[in-house]
């Protein structure tokens, strides 16, 4: 049985019985065939995309006019909201057409940018990973050079990301959120007090297992975890095409509207 098959089985096991397969999946080496940098660490460079549909709703949901059904990406299926936060989510849901930051072309934030339906590109150096998202074309840096979060709370859309390696798993500590981003299209959210821990690991050379654990006592009664797989986009000559979504509302006025110029 190949390493790849083992990894896939581990991944399947995760989906069927979350919890029992987790430790296996994280300690199972992804094998010698994964890309590695000069520092021998796994090299995640490439263009990646989630097929999870998680952006349509992190929790299990049936199809609506908003999007397709999904079995959810959360261990335990349900986000453990505090009562007041659950009310806030209901308000978010009711107002989602105008209140979802995505519909205002705002930066999606972390981790929503990872499992959004558009691709993102990872550029990697020993000192950091540069994540370029297609939607809005913003860049997130994951520092892997031993530096720490800056002092104080800073309101970042994408958070402040400091990573380190645990074997072949990149573990990223993310703080300093602005609390304005949503987690999906149906109003799931976090506060600026969120402490997110990501775990990035190869399943095989073209698949990344992405796990994110949310700790935010203002909003949730306990930490909770989501997991999605990221697939390498393999189309020839594929590139991230800038999607400065926010410019669409005034695109028509520029450049010089030649048809209106007296020639």
């Amino acid at each position: 049985m190949s390493t790849r098959t083992l990894s896939l089985l581990a991944a399947l096991g995760l989906g069927l019985s979350a919890g029992s397969g987790v430790a296996v999946a994280q300690t199972q080496p992804a094998g010698p065939s994964i890309p590695r940098g000069a520092d021998k660490k796994p090299d995640f460079s490439g263009i990646w995309q989630s097929l999870s549909g998680a952006d349509y709703g992190l929790e299990p949901h049936l199809a609506t006019k908003d999007g397709p059904p999904g079995a959810g990406v959360i261990e335990g299926n349900v986000i453990p909201y505090r009562p007041a936060a659950l009310e806030q989510r209901a308000k978010n849901f009711a107002a989602r057409a105008t209140a979802d930051p995505r519909n205002k072309c705002f930066t999606l934030g972390t981790p929503r940018g990872i499992y959004n339906n558009e691709p993102f590109q990872i550029f990697q150096r020993p000192r950091d990973l540069t994540l370029l998202y297609e939607f809005g074309h913003p860049v997130r840096t994951i520092h892997t050079n031993g530096t720490e979060h800056p002092d104080g709370h800073i309101d970042f859309w994408l958070g402040d990301s400091r990573g380190h390696w645990e074997g072949d798993t990149l573990v990223v500590d993310v703080t300093d959120f602005n609390g304005e981003a949503w987690l999906d299209r149906v109003g799931n959210f976090n506060s600026d007090a969120l402490h997110l821990v990501e775990r990035w690991s190869y399943v095989d050379r073209n698949t990344i297992r992405y796990r994110a654990t949310f700790d935010d006592p203002q909003v949730y009664t306990r930490p909770w975890t989501l997991e999605v797989l990221l697939y390498r986009r393999l189309e020839p000559n594929l590139q991230i095409i800038e999607n400065y979504c926010a410019t669409q509302e005034f695109d028509e006025y520029y450049p010089v509207p030649l048809s209106k110029v007296q020639r």
Binding site: R125, L132, P138, V139, G146, G152, F156, Q239, Y244, P255
Partner: protein, 345 residues
């Protein structure tokens, strides 16, 4: 919006706030950057770096190592052809609110030369109708009675291939096959090697850039330009038929580079023209000035070697809301009326 600690803890405020403030402040006071202490970055003359060999450090993939934080050394985008002068030639231009302490610009021959290095007169070789349009844009910059008069940069749009080098300091990151520019308003990826361009009908704010290294020079072919970004608040522009041949000529010392961009656009121009902009690397010796040098020393873990030079970082570059009305020089209510009026057309 949670404003907690925003101004206490960030040397540079949230860009959305900052952009609005800067856009307004700079329109009113073109020397705002000097007022902020960036005078050391305002050179009145410079010697373009010549193309040649690269004998500086290289990355493992063979590229000259030019990664790091950089900034231009002559000024901002108020005026393309007189970077340290007032708006427009001969002090013509949009009305400005005089400031009590505003410094008078130096005589023209003591200010940095035009960014237009060719033709020799330093002016964009516009066809007559296009020159009239540029004058119109400049005239209405502070009084945008039509939506097309609002400088798109003030709406968090990307600066475009050239004007991005006339604004805040920026970062270059290099990877096998790529040179990536992180600007405060938009980001730009240059793909290296024999890469095909995107289909020609896809027009982008920062274009589609394919490049290669020749000695000390990054040679870039930029197509697919939507040309929606202006070339300065002074109103210069090209059309979406423009192509740009760029060279980034790096001094092997690693401390400077010269940016050259030759625009070809028969729709707007009578002949090609070239923009030239000097740039210098930001070092840990440069004081932070909220404009050219946006870096700060990273917080080091306890196990970092004592005495090692600081690692420079910059804050997240997200022109967050990016949603239109901030940064414009008319009141928000007026702008909303303006946009509503435009929608009715």
């Amino acid at each position: 919006m949670d404003m907690r600690n925003r101004f206490q803890l960030r040397r540079r405020p949230v860009p959305a706030v900052l952009l609005g403030a800067l856009a307004v402040a700079s329109v009113i006071a073109p020397d705002v950057a000097s007022a902020q202490g960036a005078r050391a970055w305002r050179e009145s003359s410079f010697v373009p770096t010549p193309q040649g060999e690269w004998n500086g450090p290289r990355l493992p993939d063979g590229q000259p190592d030019v990664s790091g934080h950089w900034s231009n050394t002559i000024g901002n985008h108020n005026n393309l052809t007189d970077p340290q002068g007032p708006f427009g030639a001969d002090d013509e231009g949009p009305p400005r609110t005089p400031r009590p302490n505003a410094r008078q610009p130096k005589p023209r021959n003591e200010r940095a030369p035009s960014r237009v290095s060719d033709p020799p007169d330093g002016q964009v070789p516009f066809q007559p109708w296009a020159r009239a349009k540029q004058q119109e844009f400049m005239k209405y910059l502070n009084n945008p009675i039509k939506p097309e008069y609002v400088e798109p940069f003030a709406r968090c749009a990307p600066g475009g291939p050239s004007k991005s080098f006339m604004w805040h300091g920026y970062e270059i990151r290099q990877f096998p096959g790529y040179v990536v520019f992180l600007f405060d308003s938009g980001n730009r990826v240059i793909r290296l090697g024999a890469q095909p361009h995107l289909p020609a009908n896809l027009k982008l704010w920062n274009g589609d850039s394919v490049g290669h290294w020749e000695g000390n020079t990054l040679v870039v072919d930029t197509t697919n330009n939507n040309s929606k970004a202006r070339l300065g608040r002074s109103g210069e522009f090209v059309s979406e038929n423009a192509t740009i041949a760029e060279t980034f000529v790096f001094d092997p010392s690693g401390g400077r580079f010269t940016y050259n961009a030759t625009y070809t656009d028969p729709t707007v121009l009578t002949r090609p023209f070239t923009i030239t902009i000097p740039n210098r690397k930001v070092t840990d010796k440069d004081p932070g000035d909220d404009w050219n040098n946006l870096t700060f020393p990273a917080k080091l873990a306890g196990n970092q070697p004592v005495g090692a030079p600081p690692i420079l970082e910059a804050y997240e570059r997200v022109c967050v809301e990016g949603n239109g009305n901030h940064g414009q020089v008319v009141a928000a209510d007026d702008t909303q009326q303006l946009n509503k009026g435009a929608e009715k057309k």
